[in-house]
Amino acid sequence: MSEPAGSVRAQGVREPLVRLEGVHKWFGNLHVLKGVDLTMQQRDVVVVIGPSGGGKSTLLRCVSLLEVPTTGQVWFDNQDITDIRADLNEVRTHIGIVFQAYNLFPHMTALRNVTLALEKVLALSNDEAHDRAMDQLARVGMGHKANAYPGQLSGGQQQRVAIARALAMEPKVMLFDEVTSALDPELVGEVLEVMIRLAGDGMTMMVVTHEMGFAREVGTRMLFLDEGRVAEEGEPREMFYHPQSDRLRQFLAKVL
C-alpha cells in the first residue's frame, strides 16, 4: 500500500488503520450521524456504547461502506474508501463484519459458509480453503459442527461460525455489530469468550455492544455515541468510573 505523498512516519507513531473524518449520515430526513471523527490504530479494541438510535450500528457500517456516508471521508489503510473509485469489494476483504442476526447462509453447511468467499473472492483452491476454514472453525470451537447447517445450530454456535467466516478472510480489522444481542443469555458467554481471545491475539476490533463488562475489561478505547455525536471518548475504565458528561452518567446509571 503506497503512502500518500508527503506523509512522514515518525518513529513510534503508527499510522491509523481506520480514520473517519466528519462523517454525516442521513436516512431521508433523519440525521443519524452528525459529524463523527474516529481513528483506530492497529491492535485497538474500540468499544462503542450508547442509547439505541444513537447511531452506533450506522457508524460501524460506515467503516466498511455498507452504509455510504452522506458526507465525510472514511480512510482505511491510508486509502480514502469513500472515493467513488475505490474498489470496495477488495477493501471489504480486509474488513470482517459480524452481525447481530448472524446472517449465515442457511442453505450451506457451516464449513461451506466459511469456504465460499475464500474460493470465490480470494480464489483459494478447494483444499486451501478447506484447511483454512477448518482452522478457523476450530479456533472458535466449532470444528465438530463443520458439516451442520445453520438451522441445526444454536444461536451462539451460529454466531461463532459467523466469526470464523469473517476471520478466515484474514481481515485487518473486525467489526462486531451487537453480536450478542440476539442470543439467549446462557449463550452470550461462549461468543464473548471468542472475542476476548481474539482481542488477546492482537486483532484490531470495533465492537458495538451492550455488554458493559466486556467494554470495560476488553476495550482499549471507548466511544459514547449519543444522538449521532461522539459525546465522550476515552479509556473504558476511566469513563465508567469517572464519566464527564451528564448524558453518559445517565446512560451508565440505566444500564449498570
Binding site: 469489494n89 447462509f105 442453505h107 445453520p150 444461536g155 459467523a162
Partner: protein, 382 residues
Amino acid sequence: MAVREATSIEPEVAPDVRGPTAPLPATILALGVASLVVIALGVVVSQVNYALSDRVLTQNCLNEQISPEDNGAIGVCNIVEALADPLTTGSLYLGIGLGAVALVLGASTYRRMDNKRRRDQAITGAVLGTQAVLLALAILWFRSATPGLFSKHFLNFADLQGYGGAFVRGARNTLILAFAGEMGGIVIGLVLGILTLSQRRAVRAPARGYINFFRGTPLIWQLVTGYFLLLFGFGIRLSAFVVAIIVFALNTGAYAAEVFRAGIQSIERGQMEAARSLGMSYTQAMRYAIVPQAVRRVIPPLMNEFVILIKDTALVVVLGLTANEYDIFTLAREGQSATFNATFFTVAAIAYLIVTLPLIRLVNAAEKRLRSGLVGIAGAGG
C-alpha cells in the same frame, strides 16, 4: 422395579379430550350424512338402472329434440328418463327433508353442546344438511328446464369412440406446450426479475415495461399478433406450435419475473450484506447467496404458474395447428365441429383435470413443506 418401568412409559398419542358423544348431536350428524347419501344413491342408482336397461326413445325425449337419428340418442334419453324417475324424485325430496332437519337442529343446538365432540357433530351435521339441500335444489332446477337438450350436447359419449389415442396425443401436446413455455418463461423471468431490482431506473424501466405489457394484454392477442408479427414483420415462418411456445415463454416470463422479484426480496437483507461484507460482488452475492435461497421459495408459485399455463395453452385453438399438433382443446373443438357434439369439451375438461389435479396436489405439498421449514431455509434462529 417392573411397576416403575410400566408407569414411566409415556402414552404414544395425545389423549383424546374431546369427550363422549350424546344422542342428539350424533343424530344431527347422522341426519346430515344421510341427507347427502340419500340424494347421491337415488340419483346414481336410477341412472345406472336406466343405463343398463334396454329402452326406447320416449315421447318425453322426442319432445326435447332427441331424435332417433342422433348417434347415442338412447343413452341420452336414459339420462333424462332417469332424472324424471320417481326414485330420483323421492330421494331428492327426502334428502331435502333430512338435510333441513339436520340444519335446523344443528344450528339451534350447537351452542349448548357441552363438549367439543358434541359441538363438532352438531355443526358438521348442519353443514352437510345444508349442502344436501342446495345440491337437491340444483338438481331439481336442472331437471325442470331442458336436461335433454343439455345431455344431448354435453353428455353424449357415443361420438367419441376411437378418439382415445387422439386425446392422449392431445394431452402430450398440451404438456409440451406448457412445459416448454414454462421453462423459457423461467429463464426470461429470472433475468427480468433481477433487472427490476436494479438501483438504476434506466435498467429497471425496460424490464418493467416488458412485464407490464405482457401482463396487461390478453394472451390470445399476444398469440395472434406474435404469429403475424414473426411472419409479416420479420419474415420468419415458424409453425404455429413453435410460435405458441415462444409466446407462452414471453408471457410466462413476465409473471415469473414478478415471482422471482418477490422471492429475492423475501430473502433477508442481511444475507446480501453478509455476502458483500466478505468481498463478494453484487453478482457473486446474488449467484451464491441470494438466488439459491430464492429459488426454493419460488418453486410453489412457479408450479402454480405452470398449472395456469397448462390451461392457457387452450388458446392455441386460435392458431392453425396441424392434426398431430392438436392440444386437448383444439382436438375437442375439431371433434365437436365434425360431429356437432360438445361432449368432446366435457372429455377435454376431464383430460385437463387428469393432468392438473396431481400438479395442484404437488403445489400444495410443496407449499406446506416450505411453510414448515423442512427445506432447510428456515434461516437463523432455528
